[in-house]
Symmetry: C2
Subunit: 206 residues, 2 copies
């Protein structure tokens, strides 16, 4: 009888190193709400330049891992590539950095900062409805950190309202990804481990 293989993520078993701590990751699921969703997803993925991130697609989601700016650039390109003027679509994205259970492999970090996709997407604009939630892990003062991030959204004019379990934003796609970059930079430098959940949607029905 074979024994069950259980998981363990405790720090004593951790593979995490200083190098691992620099890896930003994003796992996302794209949901175009139309009959043609498969070709929209596959076409969008195909047109992202992923040469500067580690990438893997499974049946439910795709993950990009690497330097913060390149992961964000790839996710932004994916979302903009998938946009169709008349299709309601949502992207559920989980950004994360610093998990004690993270492993060194499956990432590219040895890259310059020249963005692979930005030039082809920087002039594309459309409005996005968004909900965000920030989870600083392992930090007792986490409820003091979250308002800093929300208040920056207020300063940038993209805050819509606070609600149970999330904050709503309304922004042009360019402003939204600029804000996502701020959050990941701020959290990546102030927190040992965080998760930033972002759900963005376009072309909402009346």
């Amino acid at each position: 009888m074979s024994e069950k293989k259980y998981v363990s993520y405790s720090s004593s078993n951790s593979c995490s190193t200083d190098l691992t701590k620099q890896i930003t990751g994003c796992r996302f699921s794209l949901s175009p709400m139309c009959d043609d969703y498969i070709s929209i997803i596959l076409n969008a993925l195909k047109h992202v330049d992923t040469s500067k991130v580690w990438s893997n697609t499974d049946t439910l989601s795709t993950v990009y891992r690497g330097k913060r700016v390149h992961v964000e650039d790839a996710v932004k390109a994916l979302f903009i590539n998938a946009y169709k003027k008349d299709v309601h679509m949502s992207l559920e994205a989980t950004f994360s950095k610093g998990s004690p259970g993270d492993t060194e492999g499956e990432s590219y970090l040895a890259e310059d900062d020249l963005l692979a996709n930005e030039l082809s997407i920087k002039d594309i604009h459309f409005p996005v409805e968004c909900k965000i939630a920030l989870y600083p892990l392992g930090d007792g003062n986490y409820m003091d950190i979250i308002p800093n991030v929300v208040n920056t959204a207020i300063d940038r004019g993209i805050y819509k309202e606070s609600a149970h379990y999330c904050t709503f934003l309304q922004a042009d796609v360019q402003s939204l990804f600029s804000y996502i970059d701020y959050v990941n930079e701020y959290c990546g430098s102030h927190l040992s481990h965080y998760v930033f959940e972002v759900t963005m949607a376009v072309n909402l029905p009346e």
Copy 2:
């Protein structure tokens, strides 16, 4: 010139009380990937008996709040009501309890434990692909808590694999919601504040 209204969630400003701490909530977004998504979402919402939860729907999501068992019963009914044999659909659900910034209102707690929807959905079965992530907030030992929850999925035979930033499950819809109830019960009694992210999908393309 009007001053900006900033947010604050620090414990000194908290509205949280012992009663508030008993409120379980779930914010979810349903994404049927077909042209007919609006009627599927609206029909599913309409056929949930929400008499035992507080409920609010906005442009991006719906939130149910109340006693754990009634919130789970309503979310389960929503998902099962929305299921169509040939439609690929995902549900992104955020379960949470214990936020220090939570407020007492907008919830029903003074209810018995008789489930409003279970009788009409308990014999419906279909397979679900699922990814989960647990975030225990404000607890330094959080990486010791997460494996307990994942290992219970292994014990129940619904664990598929571990991956970056999530764990994949494969289960019949009844087993999955039974497991979600275990996680919310376990976390609700062992942690002061947690967030449990669940994305479930049905009828995945080949």
